[in-house]
């Protein structure tokens, strides 16, 4: 513990952009529309922006804390602020949260594969192949993980083009009238939307791996802005395409949009889309799993490779024991709710405590 990350393992500041975006965009973007439409109707795109502003503030707070403590990650900071026992317990909770996040990302993606592509596919086989891939990436070190995040944003970018096709059937009056919902409804929607932004708290863990970390703040904000752009454009296109009552009944509106794409050589684009989504999901699983195992290493000095193998076995076992869409939904619900409180309650509290701690330290 307390060892600094050598320069050789650090990554360029602007890659923070890709790390943030890659971990935020995941399975959520395929299904978030029907969830946020519930309270705020077709004004929900405003809620996406409101949520994004909230995330920007949180990122600002995280940098406020991290910039004061050079070369330290969340696990060091927690032990520093709360002492060994409470600090480490909080650290373990953080690790479990990240582990569950990666599990949920993987499981929900496999769910989509089961529903849309291969109903009979074996969980064990797909899960193992995925985890082998993830372990192979993580074993390459943080630079390789950042590489997958970068490619996981850049390569699937072509999918943005698929948003052009449904415009042929767009009904532009869907969005009118604007702002016919109350502020409370918009905020409720925004709260549901924050769930799609989760994952950026991994910044707490990989901060020491950034070169000139103080300069990375603007890239982190750009990353969130880019995520917001992706969500807003997807939301608006689906709002134009679907009827408001209809979209509430669709579980994966984005996949529905892909279904209507027709090109001279390809129909039923969703097969290609879902498969390409592997590249989007991969950074989600990889980064969170890495963050979790890194935490274990920082706190208990255990071998990260061994932790990862244990994690993989845990994920596979849980995946095989928890069956049924309802149960998976419950876990995912639990994780996202916890995530909401983690970022919107814990981070501000941590920021305040750290601020006070800072003042006390200075006055000494």
């Amino acid at each position: 513990m307390g060892k600094h990350v050598p320069d050789y393992f650090k990554i360029s500041p602007f890659l923070t952009f890709f790390l943030i975006t890659a971990v935020q965009v995941g399975v959520g973007i395929l299904s978030f529309q029907s969830i946020i439409v519930e309270p705020a109707g077709y004004d929900a795109w405003i809620s996406i922006i409101i949520a994004s502003i909230g995330v920007h503030i949180l990122i600002f707070m995280m940098y406020k804390i991290l910039n004061q403590e050079e070369h330290k990650d969340i696990f060091d900071i927690q032990t520093m602020l709360f002492g060994k026992w409470i600090g480490k317990s909080l650290g373990v909770i953080t690790c479990v949260y990240f582990l569950l996040m990666s599990f949920v990302a993987l499981r929900l993606y496999i769910e989509i594969i089961q529903v849309w592509m291969f109903p009979q596919i074996s969980l064990l086989v797909v899960g193992t192949v995925f985890l082998l891939l993830v372990l192979y990436i993580i074993n390459g070190g943080f630079k390789v993980i950042a590489g997958i995040c970068f490619l996981g944003v850049v390569i699937p970018l072509y999918l943005i083009l698929t948003l052009i096709f449904p415009l042929e059937f767009a009904y532009y009056d869907n969005l009118k009238p604007v702002l016919n919902h109350s502020v409370i409804e918009l905020l409720l929607s925004a709260q549901k939307m924050t769930l799609s932004y989760l994952g950026f708290s991994t910044l707490f863990v990989y901060y020491p791996f950034l070169k000139e970390p103080k300069k990375t703040q603007k890239f982190a904000h750009f990353g969130v802005a880019f995520t917001t752009f992706l969500y807003v454009s997807t939301a608006i296109v689906s709002f134009l395409f679907y009827d408001e009552e209809q979209i509430k009944t669709v579980i994966w509106p984005t996949l529905g949009i892909w279904k209507i794409i027709e090109m001279p050589f390809v129909e039923r684009f969703e097969y290609i889309g879902i498969s390409s989504w592997t590249l989007v999901i991969l950074p989600n699983i990889t980064l969170t799993l890495w963050a979790s195992s890194r935490g274990m290493k920082r706190m208990f000095n255990v071998n990260q490779r061994k932790t990862l193998i244990v994690y993989a076995i845990i994920i596979i076992t849980v995946m095989l024991t928890v069956r049924g869409f309802d149960n998976i939904d419950k876990i995912s619900e639990l994780v996202t709710r916890f995530g909401f409180y983690y970022v919107f309650v814990y981070i501000p509290v941590l920021c305040i405590i750290h601020f006070i701690f800072q003042k006390v330290r200075e006055s000494k």
Binding site: G147, E267, T278, L282
Partner: protein
């Protein structure tokens, strides 16, 4: 720890044999030992009032040097001592020694030993090596229509000459090593002092010094031994047979490794995009060159992905084929009893067979095999209903596309990685194709060449290095050396002067 490990001291006074327990410690023993081999010549050569004892390995010595330069000059002088003898021979690096180790080593590298009496322990060693190499010829692997037509040969001396006369600067440094305890191959590491990153040079030198091997035949042995990840299918050092390419990368700040007996130079560090850049690209207009490079990139992607996609689509996702296209596919596949995967594997293996047969046979026969085999087997297998027309076209195109890779080793890699893709496509459809693609990406991300990222400039993304990767910008834009190499002098030439635009009619 290595710092503290003492190197075993070489006792030069004796000649160590392969069998560690044996060594030769006196001249008498040495002569007896050498004479066991019949090509060792040892005789008395009478001159006016005394005689000289000459000993050498006949196959290693140039008879003309012996007779014209050595014996001719020796005869005329009156010689009293070895010193006189040394001065009378007009050849550089003549040595007087009685060190058995040195004598034995020099004899084996084409020196002639001269003594006054058979029992003398002190002798003169004259260098008269016989060099029989083929003359410089046209590059065959990296052929270019325009540009220089020289290629490296098997002699390291000639190769060094080819490089040095294109780069006549004192900063070009050559470090020589002897590698292989049987082959004693000369290995030269070339770099430009003041440009090349010293850390890279040290890494290469250290890795070459650490090589434990007996018979080093070719530079590709070195590639396999000193690569960062020797188990990877991807070559991590670029090999070239073109001296012009070697010189241009030296100027960029890379390191060139030459091995005696190998007509291929190694270039390090390398990155992925270089393997798809033919050197001819630099002789063409940048726009044309870039267009060809893009075609090459797409053909590589096409070559890897097209058959797996065919298998995935026909096994699982036939819904995504439009109706009109489906008709064509059905007519073509109607009579084929095999599942798509077997069909594809069968054809891919056929193509590999043809390629392998063509490569092993003499050129003339090889061409015939390629054409006859391709046409006959292809048509016959379609007619017999073993494969479909569509797949035949696809596989042929994929094979063609894989041959556009300018570097032979990379072409092999690309053809081979298609098979795991096929298997995954068969097992998991499109998902399998994407998963194997992800494995490929992860592998490429993990690879390094001399510790520098292999996927650069794609990852880590460096826009400045993109100027000469997929797209080749004009020379006047490439004023900086690649960041990947971390060169000591980044500026190649003045950007201002090169890109200055004159006003109209000035």
């Amino acid at each position: 720890m290595k710092l503290f490990r003492k190197k075993p001291k070489k006792n030069k006074k004796v000649s160590q044999l392969l069998d560690q327990s044996k060594q030769i410690s006196s001249m008498k023993e040495l002569m007896e030992y050498c004479k066991e081999s019949n090509d060792f010549v040892h005789y008395e050569h009478p001159i006016k009032n005394q005689s000289l004892w000459l000993s050498y390995y006949k196959p290693l010595v140039e008879a003309e040097i012996l007779h014209r330069d050595i014996l001719e000059n020796v005869d005329e002088e009156t010689i009293h001592s070895l010193q006189d003898l040394m001065e009378s021979i007009p050849i550089e690096n003549v040595v007087i020694t009685k060190d058995i180790g040195v004598i034995h080593e020099k004899l084996l590298s084409g020196h002639i030993m001269i003594r006054f009496h058979e029992r003398d322990t002190k002798c003169v060693l004259v260098n008269a090596p016989l060099k029989k190499t083929r003359s410089i010829s046209v590059p065959e692997v990296e052929f270019s229509v325009i540009g220089p037509k020289e290629s490296f040969v098997e002699s390291i001396g000639t190769n060094l000459n080819l490089i040095r006369y294109r780069l006549p600067i004192p900063e070009l440094k050559v470090k020589e090593f002897t590698v292989g305890n049987l082959s004693k191959s000369k290995v030269a590491v070339l770099y430009v002092d003041g440009i090349t990153n010293q850390e890279n040079v040290n890494t290469v030198i250290q890795r070459i010094e650490d090589i434990e091997f007996d018979e080093l035949i070719d530079s590709s042995y070195i590639t396999q031994i000193i690569s960062d990840n020797p188990r990877s299918l991807f070559p991590q050092l670029l090999d070239t047979e073109r001296p012009d390419r070697a010189v241009s990368v030296l100027a960029e700040g890379k390191i060139v490794i030459l091995v005696n007996g190998s007509p291929h130079a190694l270039i390090a560090p390398a990155n992925l995009t270089e393997f798809f850049a033919a050197f001819e690209d630099y002789f063409l207009n940048p726009i044309i060159a870039s267009a060809f490079r893009i075609i090459r990139f797409f053909s590589v992607v096409f070559s890897i992905l097209v058959t797996p996609i065919y298998v995935a689509v026909l096994t699982y996702h036939y819904e995504l084929v439009p109706k009109d296209l489906m008709g064509t596919l059905i007519t073509s596949r109607e009579v084929v009893p095999l599942p798509p995967i077997l069909e594809a594997v069968f054809l891919e293996l056929t193509i590999e067979l043809l390629r392998e047969a063509g490569a092993r046979l003499p050129t003339k026969v090889g061409q015939t095999i390629g054409i006859v085999g391709g046409i006959v087997i292809g048509t016959a297998s379609v007619e017999a209903g073993l494969t479909s027309n569509v797949l035949l076209i696809i596989v042929a195109l994929a094979a063609l596309a894989s041959f556009t890779t300018p570097v032979y080793k990379m072409g092999n890699t690309i053809r081979l990685i298609r098979f795991p893709f096929l298997l995954f496509a068969y097992l998991l459809g499109f998902l399998g194709v994407v998963l194997s693609f992800c494995f490929l990406l992860a592998h490429l991300l993990r690879l390094t060449s001399l510790g520098r990222p292999f996927l650069e400039p794609i990852y880590p993304p460096r826009l400045k290095d993109m100027k000469d990767s997929v797209i080749r910008f004009p020379f006047s834009w490439n004023t900086k050396r690649p960041i990947q190499l971390q060169t000591e002098k980044t500026q190649r030439f003045s950007a201002k002067k090169a890109r200055k635009r004159k006003d109209i009619d000035e």
